[in-house]
């Protein structure tokens, strides 16, 4: 038997808008952007975009802060945050490798590039290596079909990638080989 998530700390759950007890300035910035959206509950997705932009990922604490500010049930906020691919509840790796799996890239061999990266690291699409060095993800068409297959390394698009090219990049980042 197991349970799935950590309980958010109760100390923070009763906070009034703003002034997060942690003193973290980013909460004030989030507060400002929520104010701009007039704390409208229907602005939840915009607010989550801002929150992730500020903090990198969405912790339970942060989701609860947003839920209280927008007067939304916590489960609703959690439901929305986990519905959309863009939001992440886990910290991302230092480096990122995003393989485009659009149709054009796929027919030109993106699948084997992804397989090579997954094979070398022992992690799957959407996961981060245990040492926090690399996150692997896939994208659905970057619009770079002309240079397929495309891979985005740390935000930089590289075209016409082979499995070898990708592995070379991982070496450069000193990504450790994972279990096969």
């Amino acid at each position: 038997m197991k349970t799935e998530a950590n309980a958010p700390s109760k100390a923070n759950s009763r906070q009034k808008n703003g002034n997060h007890p942690s003193g973290d300035n980013r909460f004030t910035m989030l507060e400002t952007s929520m104010k701009k959206l007039r704390y409208q509950p229907d602005a939840l997705i915009e607010v989550l975009h801002s929150a992730q932009g500020l903090f990198g990922y969405l912790t339970s604490d942060l989701l609860l802060f947003v839920a209280h500010a927008l007067k939304l049930p916590p489960s609703r906020v959690y439901g929305v945050a986990t519905f959309y691919h863009f939001f992440t509840l886990e910290p991302r790796g230092l480096h990122s490798c995003s393989v485009c799996m659009g149709t054009a890239c796929y027919v030109k061999g993106a699948g084997s590039v992804l397989a090579a990266v997954e094979g070398a690291t022992g992690i799957k699409d959407g996961m981060t290596t245990p040492d926090g060095n690399l996150t692997i993800s896939t994208a659905r068409c970057l619009g770079a079909c002309g240079i397929a297959p495309a891979v985005v390394y740390d935000g930089e698009v590289a075209g016409r990638q082979s499995p070898e090219d990708a592995l070379e990049k991982l070496n450069e980042w000193e990504v450790k080989n994972g279990p096969e």
Binding site: N6, K10, S75, F83
Partner: protein, 238 residues
């Protein structure tokens, strides 16, 4: 108020004004199989078991959210509909771990009843056997994700009747799960009022009273209907 007259399975019947096709059928003693629908709360049109054929409409329509209209010709029972319904049931049995003989709701389970009524005697699809959790942190109730069919009755009853909105659906697609608050243990939920409406609403053995043994988990749907009715008709107003 004028009634609506329509044809269901070739019989001319009348339905109360504003009735859905499902309600019209029930008023006239015609059974349409359902799973996600529950009297007293809004309909989701999600389980697709109540799909019916309507003359002049190319697509099958869910009876629970389709309004009965004057002159409508409805077919609720056909070889094709039953074939589709059977496949939907098979998909559900294959999706999670439904082990009837050891389930608290054995014999009181709507999924099981629908399968028996439909004659679904085996599942042709490959069982997914996902590794799922059981949460018994709540003092009185438990949730076993193995048995959940994602009908969202718990979400709707908690939101619409209790007003707590403790439940919601997290994730998406086959990774969808019903959760309490921020996907935290139910026992640590800040919003749950322990009203048990979700327990009574659950069609399977997913949400249960602790201490229920195999086959002991009976659902009191009448309680939900009672509260919903009372609210709607303002029976308790001074």
């Amino acid at each position: 108020m004028t009634v609506t007259t329509l044809t269901i399975n070739g019989e001319l019947v009348s339905a109360s004004p504003g009735a859905s096709v499902l309600e019209a059928a029930r008023e006239n003693g015609v059974e349409i199989p359902t799973l996600c629908e529950l009297e007293g709360i809004s309909s989701a049109g999600a389980c697709r078991l109540c799909l019916v054929e309507i003359s002049g409409t190319p697509r099958l329509q869910p009876a629970c959210v389709t309004a009965a209209t004057e002159g409508m010709e409805v077919q609720t029972d056909s070889e094709r509909l039953n074939r589709y319904r059977r496949m939907i049931l098979e998909l559900l049995f294959a999706e999670r771990n439904h082990i009837c003989p050891v389930c608290v709701a054995n014999g009181h389970c709507e999924l099981q009843s629908r399968a028996i009524e439909n004659g679904m005697d085996h599942v042709r699809f490959s069982y997914q056997h996902p590794d799922l959790s059981v949460d018994i942190t709540h003092e009185r109730f438990g949730i076993d994700q193995d048995r959940c069919i994602l009908c969202t009755r718990c979400v709707r009853v908690c939101d619409e009747l209790e007003g707590a909105h403790t439940w919601d659906v997290a994730g998406r697609g086959t990774k969808s799960r019903v959760i309490t608050d921020l996907n935290q243990p139910w026992g640590e939920s800040d919003t749950c009022t322990s009203c048990a409406k979700c327990v009574e609403a659950c069609p399977t053995g997913a949400i249960f009273r602790k201490g229920s043994s195999v086959g002991e988990m009976e659902h009191r749907r009448d309680r939900i209907r009672f509260i919903a009715d009372a609210r709607k008709k303002k029976e308790w107003s001074p």
